[in-house]
């Protein structure tokens, strides 16, 4: 009988053959004991294995938290175009016109809360820096302490308030150079000098460093023009590494000094520097200069520009007291 003719094995026959083949297999009598021993062995290892696994898992979690947690960094990443980040600073390319000498203008002298308002006319130059922005002043951005609105500044290294001329807040006075309409500040931290180009017609003639907000970064008060006895000033503020900007006159209170007379009316203006800001003084005398009706306004140098703080105060003082305040009292002037 050849292979093709032979009949296929039936399932029943195969089942019988398989059972018969393994029938001699007799399990050992220790089988149950071996299983029990294996179960005990497994139980003994389970607790330490679970504990070790838990410890490894906890370690991995801690490690990943440490790796993923953002590390505090002292590095300040500067954006490529910083001009757009400075809301209050004047753009150095902008050029408000400078008024001709002898024209009328303002400081506006405002009375106290319950008194009538009065406007004193001072024959001075039109402030070379007209307000570039009429944005509302951010409440709470004035006063002393750290300026949270200047995130691009490098970390403060010096004291509060800053020493005069320490523009970049490292505890050392920086080098300030005046050249025509350009103010150049070379930071003592290093890096490229910051250049401020003043508006057309302005000339920087002297400067004084003063921390006007007590934040550890000195502002620069720069005289930028004069006409007879009347002088105009600008305030420069450190905005970011390599950037110093001229603050816009958001309070519409020009920083000027000097006196002028028109008929029987004599007006005078001046300012003094403090860590609370600029204290602007404007006086009007209608009695031939014997007494002055003096209005005092505090202006803060914030990132939004020069902004008014509080309510102006008004008082009548004798000429001897008033005239001493019609000056630029702001530390030491250079050169």
């Amino acid at each position: 009988m050849n292979g093709s003719e032979q009949s296929q094995l039936s399932p029943q026959e195969l089942s019988r053959l398989l059972h018969a083949a393994v029938d001699p297999v007799r399990p050992s009598p220790e089988g149950y004991q071996r299983i029990q021993a294996g179960i005990e062995r497994r139980g003994r290892w389970r607790v330490p294995l679970y504990a070790a696994g838990g410890a490894v898992l906890a370690g991995l979690v801690v490690l990943s938290v440490l790796l993923l947690r953002p590390a505090p960094s002292s590095q300040v990443v500067e954006p490529a175009n910083r001009v757009s980040l400075v809301p209050g600073g004047t753009t150095v390319r902008s050029s408000p016109s400078v008024g001709s000498s002898g024209t009328a203008a303002t400081p506006r002298v405002t009375s106290g809360p319950d008194g009538p308002s009065q406007t004193a006319t001072l024959p001075v130059l039109t402030p070379p820096i007209s307000p570039l922005t009429t944005r509302p002043v951010t409440p709470g951005s004035t006063g002393t302490g750290p300026d949270e609105n200047s995130p691009t500044r490098p970390p403060l290294l010096g004291d509060r308030p800053a020493i005069p001329g320490d523009v970049d807040g490292d505890g050392k006075a920086d080098t300030v150079r005046l050249s025509g309409a350009v103010v150049e500040v070379t930071p003592s931290r290093g890096g490229a000098p910051a250049r401020v180009v003043l508006p057309d017609g302005a000339t920087a003639s002297r400067w004084s460093g003063f921390d006007l907000d007590g934040d550890g970064f000195s502002e620069l008060v720069v005289q930028i023009g004069s006409s007879g006895d009347v002088k105009q000033f600008a305030v420069l503020r450190f905005m970011a590494a390599g950037q110093v900007s001229m603050l816009a006159d958001a309070a519409e209170q020009p920083v000027i000094t000097g006196t002028a007379s028109t008929g029987s009316t004599t007006t005078g203006a001046g300012f003094s520097c403090s860590t609370n800001g600029l204290r602007l003084v404007a006086g009007v005398s209608t009695d031939g200069g014997a007494n002055y009706d003096v209005t005092t306004t505090t202006i803060a140098a914030t990132i939004d520009g020069l902004t008014k703080v509080g309510t102006p105060s008004r008082s009548t003082v004798p000429a001897a007291t008033a005239t001493t305040s019609f000056d630029a009292l702001c530390g030491t002037w250079n050169p």
């Binding site: 292979g3 032979q6 009949s7 296929q8 094995l9 399932p11 195969l14 089942s15 053959l17 398989l18 059972h19 018969a20 083949a21 393994v22 029938d23 001699p24 297999v25 007799r26 399990p27 050992s28 089988g31 149950y32 071996r34 299983i35 294996g38 179960i39 497994r42």
Partner: protein, 176 residues
């Protein structure tokens, strides 16, 4: 609460011990014989089945349907037999040639099994055909149950069984 969970754990362990004892007394012998048909080395069949019992005991708390414990046990035996075969294939590739007179420690009953013609023919089948034939004609499992244990479709089980049966017919005819 720890006390309550400890009590729950000990209840599961007691339950597993009782089930294990019952499964051992009823099915241990048949499972060892099943492993003997699946493995090339008869001496390893008890070890594989004992390992399967230990694993089922460890997983008793996670077993959803306790009535299917025997099916789970069988599947574990098949899986362990597969991995044992794989390990033995690797070991054989690297093992030195055995001594010609090296006698097995399990002489006697095991040698009878080794000499059976059907065992020799079975070992020449591909692994899946061998599993299908053993599960269908020794364990008397349905095609669906065999498919579940083997992890394949019922159609595949049919094909493996048919081919295995034909191959065994030829081999056994040659051996006679």
């Amino acid at each position: 609460m720890p006390a309550r969970s400890d009590a729950a754990r000990s209840a599961v362990a007691r339950d597993a011990d009782q089930a294990l004892t019952a499964l051992y007394s009823e099915h241990y012998r048949s499972l060892v014989r099943l492993a003997a048909l699946l493995l090339d080395d008869i001496g390893l069949c008890e070890e594989v089945v004992q390992d399967a019992y230990i694993r089922v005991h460890g997983a008793w708390g996670r077993l959803q349907d306790k009535d299917k414990a025997l099916a789970y046990l069988r599947q574990t035996v098949v899986n362990l037999a597969r991995s044992t075969l794989r390990r033995r294939l690797v070991a054989l590739k690297h093992a030195p040639k055995p001594m010609p007179d090296a006698a097995s420690a399990e002489e006697g009953a095991y040698s009878l099994v080794e000499r059976a013609a059907v065992i020799q023919a079975l070992r020449e089948l591909p692994r899946r055909q061998r599993e299908a034939v053993v599960l269908r004609y020794y364990a008397d499992m349905s095609e669906a149950d065999a498919a579940a244990v083997m992890g394949c479709s019922v159609g595949s089980v049919k094909a493996y069984t048919s081919r295995g049966l034909a191959a065994l017919s030829t081999k056994l005819a040659d051996l006679r």
